[in-house]
């Protein structure tokens, strides 16, 4: 039954995707993109990927929309009509689609328990995690220990994007159209959103912390928590104006969070090296290897959360600051 839902949602996904591409108004495209992301997350959830769905929710519904809107506010809102060049694109794309669909018919079908992916590496994770790491959420175990090096790479991808955006938007605008010095007021004179939003901000941050520290037991972890907390602070910035949010958490603190988080993660790895293990081998952190693993996971998840939260907020502020400067 549930797969019928999935079929249904997937068909909607295609319709929305076509509509996104067709829409001439970029704002409409962004709005539809957020529906696309919601649909995608629901599908992930139906396909048993609770952690991924939470991530898509935290990123797609909040952060992506906000960043897109800030970019739109700085550029144009409508797309111009274009002529020509479509046929070649359509042909190329059609060939690609038929190639992939050609490949599907020898793939294992959805949910097939005999598919090779369910035979090789994954059963080992499911079987050995209780013995080696002993936390219920296998996704967190794989993410932060077995494939912890990937996650370190992921943190550094976010870090690169953060300093990249700061670097690119840190350049002085070519033509300052007379500094108006108007502080963005936020939604201060909208009473209802103001009151409700203020009420909500602490809950969002609290929920973020819950996701952070509950990641070993339920869906969640550092990245989701970082994104959720960042969304909470962005809400505050929307309500009180960007300057107020910067007064609460200045840029230097954000940069400190990013750098600190990245170094915390890497530092744990280096400490493991000094204590005689391989890089990121948390077992050596404690006399009992299982405790060592759990300790390591808690610390690195904290690092991931700090880095992601700081990076997303820095990116948001970089865009918002540009808006004032214009």
């Amino acid at each position: 039954m549930i797969f019928v839902f999935s079929l249904f949602l997937l068909s909607l996904l295609i319709i929305i995707a076509i509509a996104i591409v067709q829409a001439k108004n970029l704002f409409v495209s962004v709005m539809l993109l957020s529906i696309f992301s919601l649909l995608m997350a629901t599908n992930f959830f139906i396909l048993d990927a609770a952690d991924v769905a939470l991530t898509e929710a935290a990123v797609g519904a909040g952060i992506t929309t906000v960043i897109f809107l800030s970019a739109l506010a700085l550029t144009a809102q409508r797309e111009r009509k274009v002529v020509g060049g479509r046929t070649i694109a359509l042909i190329a794309v059609g060939v690609l689609a038929s190639l992939i669909i050609y490949a599907t018919f020898e793939k294992p079908r959805l949910g097939d328990p005999n598919a090779p992916v369910h035979q090789h590496v994954a059963p080992w994770y499911l079987e050995k995690t209780p013995e080696y790491i002993d936390i219920p959420n296998i996704v967190t175990a794989v993410l932060s220990s077995y494939r912890g090096y990937d996650t370190l790479g992921e943190v550094f991808v976010v870090f690169t994007a953060c300093i990249g955006v700061l670097f690119i938007l840190g350049a002085k605008p070519a033509s300052l159209r007379g500094e108006r010095n108007v502080e963005r007021a936020g939604l201060r004179h909208h009473l209802i959103p103001q009151v409700v939003g203020r009420l909500l901000v602490p809950f969002i941050v609290l929920f973020g912390l819950y996701v952070q520290f509950h990641g070993e037991y339920g869906p969640g972890g550092g990245f989701q928590a970082g994104a959720i907390i960042a969304t909470g602070v962005i809400l505050y910035a929307l309500l009180e104006g960007e300057a107020a949010a910067l007064r609460a958490i200045p840029r230097s603190v954000l940069l400190g969070l990013v750098v600190g988080g990245a170094l915390l993660f890497g530092g744990v790895g280096v400490v493991c090296m000094f204590m005689g293990g391989a890089f990121l081998d948390y077992s050596v952190l404690q006399s009992d290897p299982v405790w060592g693993q759990q300790l390591g996971i808690v610390i690195i998840e904290a690092g991931v959360g700090m880095a992601v939260c700081g990076a997303l907020l820095s990116i948001f502020h970089a865009f918002a600051a540009r808006e004032i400067a214009q």
């Binding site: 108004n25 939604l187 909208h190 209802i192 959103p193 409700v196 939003g197 009420l199 909500l200 809950f203």
Partner: protein, 113 residues
């Protein structure tokens, strides 16, 4: 006996919630102007949230899940109307006039499609 009653009550609540959701959806699609559509969507949303989540809570019994359901319900009850208010306000500020068209769908202003 009590169990059965609770179960039945929860099913009734869920069914009512489902109907409410549907009505809201139809309203949001069929009503003639933006403000009337807002009206349909927002009111039924609130009601449906209440009904569905009460039904689910009865199913869950006294567990952590109930607490979470309660939290979700409260948040939805708070944010739903706020979001609708914000939206209607934005529309009004940017010049979309609320008016009652004589012929549905004809005279409404195309603000910015």
């Amino acid at each position: 006996m009590i169990d059965l009653a609770v179960d039945a009550l929860s099913w009734v609540l869920l069914a009512l919630g489902g109907i409410c959701v549907l009505i809201g959806g139809v309203g949001a699609l069929r009503f003639p102007t933006f403000y009337t559509r807002t009206h349909a969507a927002s009111l039924t949303d609130t009601m449906a949230t209440l009904l569905v989540f009460s039904g689910l809570m009865l199913q869950a019994g006294f567990t952590l899940a109930t607490l979470k359901l309660l939290a979700i319900m409260l948040f939805l009850l708070l944010t739903g109307p706020t979001a609708t208010y914000a939206l209607a306000n934005a529309a009004l500020e940017s010049g979309l006039k609320p008016e009652a068209p004589t012929i549905p769908g004809r005279t409404r202003k195309k603000a910015d499609s």
